[in-house]
């Protein structure tokens, strides 16, 4: 079951990465599809990280005791101010391991 999942997921991921690199494939994405897909990265990544930050043990946690939330706010400010992925990740994770 796990091996079936690994190989089928690998197929889905590889096809999405490789498909449009094939010169023989006459496939082109329409303007509308391209516009829609351009929102996919921010939407998907946000949908993955938001519950990690805001939901603790099944409850909405907006308190100052939520170290995930505090450090996520710090990461947001760092990301907007520096636009540096490494600096943002390392500093906010460092802070997290200190206060968590």
């Amino acid at each position: 079951m796990i091996w079936l999942m690994i190989f089928s997921m690998a197929a889905v991921v590889f096809i999405s990465r490789h498909l449009l690199l094939e010169p023989k494939l006459p496939l082109r994405l329409s303007k509308g599809t391209q516009t829609f897909l351009s929102y996919s990265a921010p939407a998907v990544l946000t949908a993955i990280f938001a519950p990690i930050v805001f939901v603790q043990e099944g409850q909405l946690d907006l308190s100052l005791d939520n170290s995930y939330l505090i450090c996520a706010v710090v990461a947001t400010i760092l990301a907007l101010a520096t636009r540096n992925t490494l600096l943002t990740t390392v500093l906010s994770m460092g802070l997290f391991f200190v206060i968590h």
Binding site: I2, W3, L4, M5, I6, F7, M9, A10, V12, V13, F14, S16, R17, H18, L19, L20, L21, E22, P23, L29, Q34, F36, L37, Y39, S40, A41, P42, A43, V44, L45, T46, A47, I48, F49, A50, P51, I52, V53, V55, G58, L60, S67, Y68, C71, A72, A75, T76, L78, A79, L80, N84, T85, L86, T88, T89, S92, M93, F96, F97, H100
Partner: protein
């Protein structure tokens, strides 16, 4: 028609400039390889926690090679969700790679098959970030290979570390390694929020993802992401964001052209053509 055989003699021998390009790619992606380490540890230890064998856990990173899809799938396995739901979610998470491939198509598709397969397999968010430098730069496949391959090795070593740690240390989950996901994604998403419509997309996705998590709705990721994308597209359409951006770009081009025309009388005809083409665009 370019065949594999014509290119091969040029690709095969270890040439100093190729080694140099490979090294340059490795160095360019290095910060991202470092940033992915805690995340790889999480992928390895979480797989063990969910009940995969060490071989299966490593195989996820070695064969699938997609961090966010791996972690989300493991969460779904833990929750007892079926294979089809996992695959549909994987498809949504990985759909952004279609765009990356399309952007790189003009540079990678003329290469021989083995190059296309290799670079296609290695095409992650991180490789795209360092390799897609626009059409002005000459694309070097060895640079891309150095970046992609070193990142692949880094990701797999970090996963191995996670598997070993997950087997040895109890309650690794309580360390809060999952914050690594949040930190990385915040660092990747925030700089892309350049238009109001993307902000709308992010806010809708964020709110719905949290609401779905609170109500324990299993398809929460799909619902939140698709709603966020739709909201962003609709907002851009209603406010005519693209047209306005185009207009202000044209205005800027015209002002610049006029300024140049004022100072350099000799280039009058050239700037005139420029401002005309600017109005047309």
């Amino acid at each position: 028609m370019i065949t594999d055989k014509q290119i091969e003699p040029d690709v095969y021998p270890a040439h100093p400039t190729k080694a140099k390009a490979f090294l340059k790619g490795t160095l360019a992606i290095m910060p991202l390889t470092i940033a992915v380490v805690p995340w790889g540890i999480l992928a390895g230890s979480f797989a063990i926690e969910v009940g995969l064998t060490p071989i299966e856990s490593q195989a996820m990173s070695a064969i699938i090679f997609a961090g966010s899809a791996q972690l989300v799938a493991l969460g779904m396995v833990k929750a007892g969700i079926g294979l089809w739901s996992i695959l549909i979610t994987t498809l949504l998470i990985t759909s952004r790679h279609l765009l990356y491939a399309m952007a790189m198509r003009s540079q990678i598709s003329p290469l021989p098959l083995k190059w296309r397969l290799t670079l296609g397999f290695l095409l992650t968010d991180e490789l795209f970030a360092i390799a897609n430098q626009g059409k002005l730069h000459k694309f070097d496949p060895w640079y891309a290979l150095g970046g992609g391959l070193s990142f692949y090795i880094g990701w797999n070593l970090a996963t191995l570390l996670g598997i070993v740690a997950g087997n040895a240390i109890e309650n690794l989950g309580e360390l809060g390694l999952d914050f690594a996901i949040a930190a990385t994604f915040i660092a990747l998403v925030m700089p892309t929020v350049k238009k109001p419509s993307i902000l709308v997309c992010v806010l809708v996705s964020l709110t719905l993802a949290v609401v779905c998590a609170l109500f324990e709705i299993q398809a929460g990721l799909l619902i939140a992401a698709i709603a966020g994308m739709t909201a962003g597209v609709l907002y851009a359409k209603v406010t005519q964001e693209a047209e306005r951006a185009q207009q202000s770009a044209n205005q800027l081009a015209n002002t610049q052209a006029q300024a140049r025309a004022g100072t350099e009388s000799q280039t009058d005809t050239m700037t005139e053509t420029k401002s005309i083409s600017g109005e047309k665009a």
